[in-house]
């Protein structure tokens, strides 16, 4: 039920509430009606009793009649399902109606009360007049009929109410939820490229309008911080690169003019560091641009196999001192339309990692081939593998799977490579990472195939 749309949930709750209200109403009605019915019943019993006393008085004025004649007088009442018992002042039983098998013992004087006789609910009244005590009772079945009537009524009413409320509340709920649906649609239109879009604020001053205003304010802040970060990547490149250029020019001048070998050595070392600093700044700016969704690709048509030749040349040069064997299986002609510089970075980063996290005398393997119009690269290597718990973090920035501080590197290689592959509409995935062999796969679709 948690996954139900809001309007169904609202309809369900409304229906349940309506049923509860109907039942509560029925119960109240029943209680009140029963109370009134019993009061009316008691009045009828009282009338019966008064009539009976009148008859008895008539009999008593007529001395020719005997006690046995009581029955004649009371029979009509007994036929009306009344239960009657008459005793005189001495407690002597004068009459017991046929419905009663034994005398009704009096448990103290109570004008009206209900008691159980033979499994039936009997309403009793007790009256005294001229030394005679008269107990009149009747079966409550007559008025219990009302409860049954109400129950039967409910059987019809509850489904009716349920249907009406369910339909009605679905309609109401849909009407209530409609603005939310509108907000959803409008908000889906707001993307990194169209952050200046806002949700239309309805002229009403209800909760929905309030919500939209709050959302618009949030989008405003989002846009501002987004623009700030975009400006940052532009400004930062200026503010980082210009001082680096100054540094470099200064150190080059020192290097060119110094005659002291110690100063020359220092200057040359510094130049190397400046170069590294520049390289890190470039990577960070690249990632900042990717984050801001402003990574610009400049696709051109080129032969990937030629580009990989250079990258493999570097890899073999780096692998030589480590006695690593670099194998390659690259198709002779691999036309690709993509950003050449970025594709080169992907291949270079992966191969560098494969060499870096290898073992003495190990192997590195690069495979590249065309698959259904896109190009697939696979870079694999021997080595200690990647511990299972570290695999989910493999592509995180500054994360180093082996956690080995002796291996140099910024921890940006893989995350940058994946960022670049994704910018091309491709991806990088880990195919294998056991103790003997690690394999990464890159897919790169052709630039004009992407949607």
């Amino acid at each position: 039920m948690k996954k139900w749309p809001l309007r169904w949930k609202l309809a369900l709750y409304a229906a349940l509430l309506a049923i509860a209200a109907t039942l509560a109403g029925a119960a109240t009605t029943w209680t009140v009606m029963r109370h009134r019915e019993i009061a009316a019943f008691d009045r009828r019993l009282t009338l019966d009793a008064h009539e009976l006393f009148r008859d008895v008085q008539h009999f008593q004025r007529d001395p020719s009649r005997g006690n046995q004649l009581f029955e004649e007088v009371f029979v009509p009442l007994a036929l009306q399902h009344r239960l009657v018992e008459v005793t005189d002042a001495q407690g002597k039983m004068l009459y017991l109606s046929p419905g009663l098998l034994e005398p009704l013992s009096s448990d103290g004087i109570r004008t009206f009360h209900t008691r159980k006789i033979g499994g039936r609910s009997i309403r009793m009244g007790e009256f005294t007049h001229d030394g005679l005590t008269l107990r009149v009772g009747a079966d409550l079945r007559e008025i219990n009929q009302i409860g049954r009537d109400i129950f039967n009524g409910m059987l019809v009413a509850v489904p009716t109410v349920l249907i009406v409320v369910a339909i009605g509340s679905t309609w109401v709920a849909r009407k209530a939820v409609a603005p939310v649906e509108e907000i959803r649609k409008a908000a889906a239109q707001i993307t990194a490229q169209r952050l200046d879009q806002r949700l239309p604020v309805p002229p009403t001053h209800d909760e929905i309008a309030g919500l939209i205003e709050v959302l618009n304010a949030a989008f405003e802040r989002l846009q501002r911080s987004f623009e700030q970060s975009a400006r940052f990547s532009a400004d930062a490149s200026h503010h980082l690169k210009t001082p680096i250029a100054v540094l470099r020019a200064g150190v080059e001048e020192i290097l060119a003019e110094a005659n002291n070998p110690r100063i020359q050595a220092t200057a040359e070392g510094l130049l190397h560091r400046i170069h590294q600093l520049n390289s890190v700044a470039d990577t960070l700016l690249l990632l900042a641009r990717a984050d801001a969704g402003r990574l610009e690709l400049h696709p051109e048509q080129f032969d990937l196999s030629e580009l990989l030749e250079g990258v493999l040349d570097d890899a073999r040069a780096l692998a030589e001192p480590l006695a690593l064997e670099v194998e390659s299986d690259v198709s002779a002609h691999l036309p690709l339309k993509a950003d050449r510089v970025f594709v080169g970075m992907i291949a270079q980063n992966l191969l560098e990692n494969a060499i870096k996290y290898n073992q003495q005398g190990g192997r590195v393997r690069l495979v590249a081939r065309a698959v259904n119009g896109s190009v697939e690269l696979s870079v694999s290597n021997t080595g200690a593998g990647i511990p299972k718990e570290r695999i989910p973090h493999l592509f995180e920035r500054f994360y180093r799977a082996r956690g080995d501080e002796r291996v140099a590197g910024s921890g940006l290689g893989l995350s940058t490579a994946r960022e670049l592959a994704r910018a091309h509409g491709g991806d990088i995935s880990l195919q294998r990472a056991d103790r003997s062999w690690t394999e990464l796969n890159v897919s790169l679709p052709q630039a004009d195939q992407r949607g």
């Binding site: 210009t242 680096i244 250029a245 100054v246 130049l271 170069h275 030749e309 040349d313 570097d314 040069a317």
Partner: protein, 221 residues
């Protein structure tokens, strides 16, 4: 040449002008676009070195206005962003060359020299040093009659060195000229490929290490 340097970073501007003066040029330094436009309307410069990010009017705008006013000085754009977009923008506004910060001062001087003789000189078909001949049409290398096979990087590196015999290249500069991208191991790579080239070219040696400076190619040690 009479050169105008427009760069808002004072120290960088000073380094550039000093390098140009050392190379035998005259350099005028300005720090914003407004004054650059005024200066170019008053006197003629052979070359303008123009930073893109300037206070007030930016470099692209300065360039656009210069070309609109039919100022035909050659222009080298300096930009912090080594991005293709900037280069394309700069060249489409009428820049003659483009250099991304940070750059080697020697590189800037070399570009200035290249622009100065650009229309006079034809691109060489062969690079020669002593008995070492690199044919640029088919990338074949011969030492005397012996043919030498080269890998991609070895070829690019050799081409850079042979183009300017006698010039000392720092390792940093070679990295930038041979590898298109920044490389974590590029210093090491330069060393590896230099030693491979040395092995292949054999004796008498033509590639020389200039201690603490870098490498150069010349006949005599």
């Amino acid at each position: 040449m009479h050169i105008l340097v427009v760069e808002d970073e004072v120290r960088l501007a000073r380094h550039i002008s000093r390098a140009l003066i050392n190379a035998g040029h005259e350099a005028v330094v300005l720090h914003d676009g407004e004054s650059a436009l005024t200066a170019t309307s008053r006197s003629r410069f052979d070359l303008i070195i123009l930073d893109v990010m300037l206070p007030g009017i930016d470099g692209f705008e300065v360039l656009r206005r210069l070309r609109k006013a039919h100022v035909d000085s050659r222009v080298i754009i300096l930009t912090a962003r080594g991005e293709v977009t900037d280069r394309v923008a700069g060249l489409s506004f009428g820049a003659d060359d483009y250099l991304a910060k940070p750059f080697a001062m020697q590189e800037l001087v070399a570009r200035v020299i290249a622009l100065g003789r650009r229309y006079a000189e034809k691109a060489p078909i062969k690079l020669e040093l002593s008995d070492l001949v690199l044919d640029l049409t088919n990338n074949e290398l011969h030492r005397g009659t012996r043919k030498i096979e080269l890998s991609v990087r070895e070829l690019t590196l050799l081409r850079v060195l042979m183009r300017e015999p006698g010039r000392v290249f720092t390792r940093t500069e070679l990295c930038e000229k041979v590898w298109e991208r920044e490389h974590e191991y590029d210093m090491k790579l330069v060393e590896v490929f230099i030693s491979r080239l040395r092995r292949k070219i054999d004796s008498p040696p033509l590639i020389h290490t200039v201690r603490h400076l870098g490498y150069t190619m010349r006949e005599e040690p």
